[in-house]
């Protein structure tokens, strides 16, 4: 079952009835959603609604108790799963950037392709420089994370993740820790990616960005998906009172 050949017309990420508890606290109570190749989906909702936990399950940083998560036809919730193979396909960017502080921006981007994928150094460096250019950080290659602003660090983190050539990118509230003036530069980098056809799953509070970039928006509250739809209808025609209340507070 886990190795059925995956074809691009099937969902790239398929989440089915996922349950997850931390002790007595059930944070996911049966969540299902599909992400097609090239799609950008945004998961929104109040804090503590389980949205970060959900995407952390997609690359097996968290385990699930029940249900199924398939990435390119491979079951993530499988004890024999080769986590390393999965994580080569799934990139992730964190709220706190988590750059390696003892390495320069360029080294941060180059390390994983060099050490994990064992690719030749000159090729890796060429691609790393191109990625740093792509996130508009040319000239910062030699800077250490401590010398960069939050927005710059987050863009290096995006480049670092892209260097692995993932098939899908997870963004876990990547602008939540940023100063307001640097949020935009990070969103631009993600938008550029999305328009380039990268499959993206974003957990975000940036409604304007979700409206502009997402193909589909999911609203979660207390561990379930309350409502979802394409941005054209999601914001204007929200039916559930919880969604309406959340949107009225945010927008």
């Amino acid at each position: 079952m886990s190795d059925t050949a995956w074809t691009p017309d099937q969902p790239l990420v398929s989440i089915r009835d996922v349950h997850k508890s931390f002790g007595d606290l059930e944070v996911l109570k049966g969540v299902s959603l599909d992400v097609m190749k090239g799609e950008v989906i945004c998961i929104i909702g109040p804090s503590g609604s389980g949205k970060s936990t959900l995407i952390r399950c997609v690359n097996a940083l968290n385990t699930i108790d029940r249900g199924s998560i398939m990435v390119e036809g491979q079951e993530v919730h499988d004890p024999d799963l080769d986590k390393l193979e999965l994580r080569k396909k799934v990139g992730m960017v964190f709220q706190q950037y988590n750059l390696f502080p003892h390495k320069t921006a360029l080294e941060n981007v180059m390390m994983a392709p060099l050490k994990v994928l064992k690719q030749p150094p000159d090729e890796v460096e060429k691609r790393a420089r191109a990625l740093i250019d792509r996130v508009n950080l040319t000239g910062k290659e030699g800077a250490y994370p401590g010398e960069l602003s939050g927005g710059q660090q987050q863009r290096v983190a995006i480049a670092r993740s892209l260097a692995m050539n993932p098939d899908v990118m997870l963004f876990d509230e990547v602008t939540a820790a940023l100063d307001p003036e640097t949020v935009n530069e990070v969103l631009l980098a993600i938008k550029d990616l999305a328009q380039d056809g990268m499959t993206c799953i974003l957990v975000t509070h940036e409604m304007g960005f979700a409206r502009e970039v997402a193909d589909h928006i999911y609203f979660t509250d207390r561990g379930i998906i309350v409502e979802h739809g394409p941005p054209t209808t999601f914001f204007s025609e929200a039916k559930d009172p919880r969604t309406q209340e959340f949107l009225s507070q945010i927008l």
Binding site: R87, F94, Q96, N98, H102, V116, M164
Partner: protein
């Protein structure tokens, strides 16, 4: 009260920010205590040691001058044969203790439960045992000689003492390593994991390079403690500075006036050696705290 607002307001109050880069790892109690002396205290100590025989035993016919003269004659012997051995023991102990301690510390954070539990137990056992008891056990349990092939190697007492002292050092280094690794934010592990690093790669490429610096001050702290503790091995008959001082005093007819100059000198030479280490340890700690 220093912060009168605290406790009687509903407003958010910024509490004083205590920065401790590596938690218990940075517990440099000994170095702090030692470094608090002013460099001049060395001079006072020396002065005291010189005056003591003169003041207390003025009525005796063995004078301070004679006692100091005896010390002066024995000094090259006590230092070159005695104190040098203390240093050799401290170097070797630190070397063995560090290597074993790093392995044990990595064992403590092993994902294999049995390895982690065992490493934790060994660490706690040797960290909380009296050093002298460990020394006696090693001295008595170790064979006097080892036969490899047809050659018989005598194991000198001082080498056995090195192994005995290396046990508690190992356990304390193990705690330093574990503490330093655990002081690295979990986000670093997660970032490396999500980039498909293996656990080994995460540890050696991401985590250890970050906490290496944090381990140096507490490591030096333990070196100073160890050096100060090396005279313990005189109780086992190893011919280090205290043993040789006693032998020298015996050779000088055991005048009680000799006690303070000889042991005072031992005190001074240990102080002179460890004091700069303690000062430097605290300086390093401050510098690394700023970098972090």
């Amino acid at each position: 009260m220093k912060y009168p607002l605290q406790g009687n307001t509903d407003l958010a109050v910024l509490k004083p920010f205590n920065y401790s880069p590596a938690g218990s790892v940075q517990d440099l109690q000994f170095s702090r205590w030692l470094a608090e002396f002013s460099p001049r205290s060395l001079l006072w100590l020396a002065l005291l040691a010189c005056l003591w025989p003169g003041i207390v035993l003025a009525q005796s016919n063995y004078t301070m001058a004679q006692a100091l003269d005896a010390l002066w004659r024995w000094l090259p012997f006590v230092v070159s044969k005695g104190f040098v051995l203390n240093l050799v023991v401290s170097f070797l102990t630190m070397l063995i203790g560090t290597i074993a301690g790093v392995i044990l510390g990595l064992g403590q954070i092993s994902p294999i439960r049995a390895v982690a539990r065992t490493s934790w137990f060994v660490t706690q056992l040797f960290r909380n045992s009296p050093w002298l008891v460990l020394l006696f056990i090693v001295m008595l349990a170790f064979p006097f000689e080892i036969t490899i092939g047809s050659t018989v190697y005598q194991i000198p007492d001082w080498l056995k003492a090195v192994f005995g002292l290396a046990l508690p050092i190992m356990a304390n280094i193990s705690e330093i390593v574990r503490g330093a690794i655990q002081s690295v934010p979990t986000g670093q592990w997660e970032a490396a994991e999500s980039l498909a690093y293996t656990r080994q790669q995460t540890l050696w490429l991401v985590i250890l390079p970050q906490c290496f610096k944090r381990m140096i001050p507490p490591w030096m702290n333990w070196y100073a403690i160890l050096t100060m503790a090396t005279p313990l091995i005189s109780l086992l008959g190893v011919e280090e500075i205290v043993t040789l001082s006693r032998q020298a005093m015996e050779a000088e007819d055991n005048h009680p006036e000799l006690l303070v100059p000889f042991f005072g000198f031992a005190l001074i030479i240990f102080f002179a050696y460890c004091y700069p280490i303690a000062r430097y340890t605290l300086r390093l700690e401050k510098r690394f705290a700023i970098i972090q």
